[in-house]
Amino acid sequence: MRRFLVHLTTALGLIAFTNVALSDGTATLRQGEPISVEAEAPKMTKVENNDVKRVRNYPEQPPTIPHKTRSYEISLNANKCMSCHARTRTGESQAPMVSITHYMDRDNQVLATISPRRYFCNQCHVTQVEAAPLVENEFVDVEELLKGE
């Protein structure tokens, strides 16, 4: 009997917790829409294409991509990004060269071409869209943090 009560309390507690989590809108993207109804999808937003660099939030942040990359192939066969951003291509393309770190293996040995572990550009570098964030971002820039003290 005692064991049963413990289980019951735990179950009720869990239900209560889930309800709280659901009601503040962070735990679901459905925004309270019942599961049986198909929620209206938000509008697709356009990819930023202004070629203007965004400020990095911290020095190690991979820079964002300020242009469209539709159909840019990154595969075993070809890397479209590198046809502009490779060291030898920047003269013609006037694009920024990929960072020197990308030409090093994990033991900091310098390589002639991009390191295989850096090959898939969009693992870290992404295009941007003007969309409302799904969750609030409380990130504070280090400069702001220093000022605040």
Binding site: N49, N50, D51, H67, K68, R70, S71, E73, S75, L76, N77, A78, N79, K80, M82, S83, A86, T88, R89, E92, S93, Q94, T113, I114
Partner: protein, 203 residues
């Protein structure tokens, strides 16, 4: 008494003699009008058949095209875009000018050979041949100054102010000066790329 064989032989002989010297057996009016009508029918039939081979429906009727290059085309801008104007296979792969079109069609008889012997009848075989096949198309577009691109995209009508800064600069520096042609930079615009090792401009 004529045997069936002699009857048949007689028929063949008469057809041959009139075909050999038609003016002796048939009136000049019949020959003129008949020749004209036959000519129209032959040319019409030839042209219709030729135009049929110039449709996307015909191209993708072979699984080699339908399962490889056509599915790759679908997510690209030349198939799916905001205005719904799209390019079909022959728009880019068959010259519009008649003589060039005929010579391309004669080359295409080699592709029939490939089809019959299954040169690229699996995805793996296709991928293995991809560099060579793509190379043929790059060479053709390089040689004719990207004519099939320019059939739709004219430099005169290209409003670079509507382009991104990056694109506008590239077009002014390389396209308008004639230093480069479309295919030099836009390889892989409509299909996946082969292994680009050693291709100029690729790393």
């Amino acid at each position: 008494m004529l045997t069936p064989f002699k009857k048949l032989w007689g028929l063949v002989y008469r057809i041959w003699s009139s075909a050999n010297r038609p003016a002796k057996h048939l009136s000049i009016g019949f020959l003129t009008i008949g020749g004209f009508v036959a000519g129209v029918m032959f040319w019409g039939g030839f042209n219709t058949a030729l135009e049929y081979t110039n449709t996307e429906e015909f191209c993708v009727s072979c699984h080699e095209m339908g399962d490889n290059v056509f599915v790759e085309l679908k997510p690209t801008i030349h198939y799916s875009n905001r205005s719904g104007v799209r390019a079909t296979c022959p728009d880019c792969h068959v010259p519009h000018n008649w003589t060039d079109k005929i010579s391309r069609k004669m080359q295409a008889s080699k592709e029939v050979w490939g089809k019959l012997f299954g040169t690229i009848n699996t995805r793996e075989k296709f991928q293995a041949e991809r560099r060579r096949l793509a190379g043929h198309e790059w060479d053709r577009l390089k040689a004719n100054n990207s004519l099939e691109c320019r059939n739709c995209h004219s430099t005169e009508s290209m409003d670079i102010t509507a382009q991104s800064t990056r694109a506008a600069e590239a077009h002014q520096t390389f396209l308008f000066t004639g230093e480069k042609t479309c295919i030099d930079c836009h390889k892989g615009i409509a299909h996946e790329l082969p292994d680009m090792t050693g291709v100029e401009g690729w790393k």
